[in-house]
């Protein structure tokens, strides 16, 4: 399987990437690790006419303690997240979930920025970013702006990024984590989750992100409200499907996904220490 023909532009700086986006507009797609986009292009489900390769922007490959938050460069690879001692102590949910993306080969190439910007509801890291209350930094021709993860996902494979913007950094608030859990249910080890749940309990409240339960990555708001009002894990988990629109596909019916969400949310809440 070979992608449809496209023009290839390698950006050697953020400015060069932004110039290329300004020049090509809607025609262009950004290429980071390529492990979400290239499979779609090989299946001809995506056929951008220009690829702007930002994969060499090593300036955007870092995990830094920035005081109130951990700053992660968009080009940081899943393997870097998985093995980061800083994340292991400050954001263990993210480090753990990154170690469950795809398989080792995918984690060596795929990037957090690419995964978040691709906005696939079946990807693991968007749900983690939602649960942790991450902030996404976008850089465009007029400078940078911050977007809350909860405002970032606007539709299937669509985000709040403008066509001329590049996701440059992810900020993970430094939480006083009491408990966390990542549940991923799939048939083969390297498959996308049929349903996944990311939970973090910190600073007196609980965040729960859902993988593959609608057209976008979702927060389980009803579950979170219930837990934050004192509900136990079983009662809160019963609300896991509120606000979701699970799809039916070859792997699972929507009813099955809803069932899985209730089961996995309960397990996730319990594993993160809620009784």
């Amino acid at each position: 399987m070979i992608p449809a023909a496209f023009e290839y532009v390698r950006a050697d700086s953020v400015d060069a990437a932004l110039s290329a986006l300004t020049k090509y507009g809607d025609e262009a797609k950004l290429l980071a690790g390529g492990h979400s986009l290239l499979p779609l292009m090989k299946l001809r489900l995506a056929a951008p006419s220009v690829l702007v390769d930002v994969g060499r922007l090593d300036d955007l490959r870092y995990i830094n303690d920035a005081g109130d938050y951990i700053a992660i460069g968009a080009l940081t690879r899943h393997r870097d997240l998985e093995t980061s001692s800083l994340l292991a102590s400050a954001a263990p949910l993210l480090a753990h979930a990154a170690g469950h993306v795809g398989d080792p080969q995918v984690r060596h190439r795929g990037t957090i920025g690419g995964s978040l910007a691709h906005a696939d509801p079946a990807s693991d890291l968007p749900a983690v970013a939602l649960a942790m209350g991450a902030t996404i930094v976008a850089t465009g021709p007029n400078g940078t702006r911050e977007i809350a993860a909860s405002e970032f996902y606007t539709g299937f494979l669509e985000s709040a990024l403008a066509p001329d913007e590049l996701l440059t950094e992810i900020r993970i608030p430094k939480l006083d984590t009491q408990g966390w859990s990542f549940q991923k249910f799939n048939r083969r080890a390297q498959d996308w989750a049929i349903v996944g749940v990311a939970t973090v309990r910190a600073n007196g409240s609980t965040g729960v992100g859902l993988v593959n339960m609608g057209s976008t990555p979702l927060l389980a708001s009803a579950v979170m409200n219930a837990v934050n009002s004192g509900a136990n894990a079983a009662d809160a988990a019963a609300l896991a499907n509120e606000g979701t629109e699970a799809q039916s596909d070859i792997n699972a019916s929507s009813e099955y996904r809803e069932h899985l969400a209730r089961v996995l949310v309960r397990r996730s809440l319990e594993e993160s220490g809620l009784s």
Binding site: M1, I2, P3, A4, A5, F6, E7, Y8, R10, L31, G34, H35, L38, P39, M41, K42, L43, L51, D53, G55, R79, G102, D103, P104, Q105, V106, H108, R109, R188, A189, Q190
Partner: protein, 157 residues
């Protein structure tokens, strides 16, 4: 577009279309046909090579993305007639049945031991999750990798 890569220590150049996949460049332009194409959908790992020393699926990279990088394929492991220890361990432990997944398994296994030189059996099974053997010959594949790890740990002690 013109690209130059270092494959198995040798600089090689070629003229590729932007959409040329790395695995096609290796096989069709450089005649390095040891790297197999299995599923073509990033699932099976038959096309696993090393990019800058780490395992990667060459069906999910553009040749253009590899421009200027260092690659190792299965052909780059043996030193003349002397097999790489991982290749020899696969041979000694019969870590293959039809052999189609073997180049990818060997490349993934070497990368696995680079990251975790002393893995448990579970570590090996999880570490090879990106490689499928349709003969389902996993038992001896895992045995081969564990043998190679034990051997190199013994040698370094």
């Amino acid at each position: 577009m013109k690209i130059t890569v270092t494959v198995n220590g040798v600089e090689r150049s070629g003229d590729v279309e932007p959409r040329t996949l790395l695995v096609h460049f290796l096989r069709d332009e450089l005649n390095l046909t040891g790297t197999n194409i299995g599923c073509d959908t990033s699932s099976c790992g038959a096309c696993t090579i090393h990019v800058e020393g780490q395992s990667a699926k060459s069906c999910t990279m553009l040749a253009a993305q590899a421009d200027g990088l260092e690659l190792t394929t299965i052909e780059g492991l043996a030193n003349g007639d002397i097999l790489h220890p991982m290749q020899r361990c696969f041979q000694e432990n019969h870590g293959l049945q039809c052999g189609y997944c073997t180049p990818g398994m060997v490349m993934a296994a070497i990368s696995l031991l680079d990251e975790n030189p002393n893995p448990s059996e579970t570590d090996v099974r999880i570490g090879l999750e990106g490689n499928l053997c349709r003969c389902t010959g996993y038992h001896n594949i895992v045995k081969s990798v564990l043998a190679c790890a034990a051997e190199s740990n013994g040698a370094s002690k």
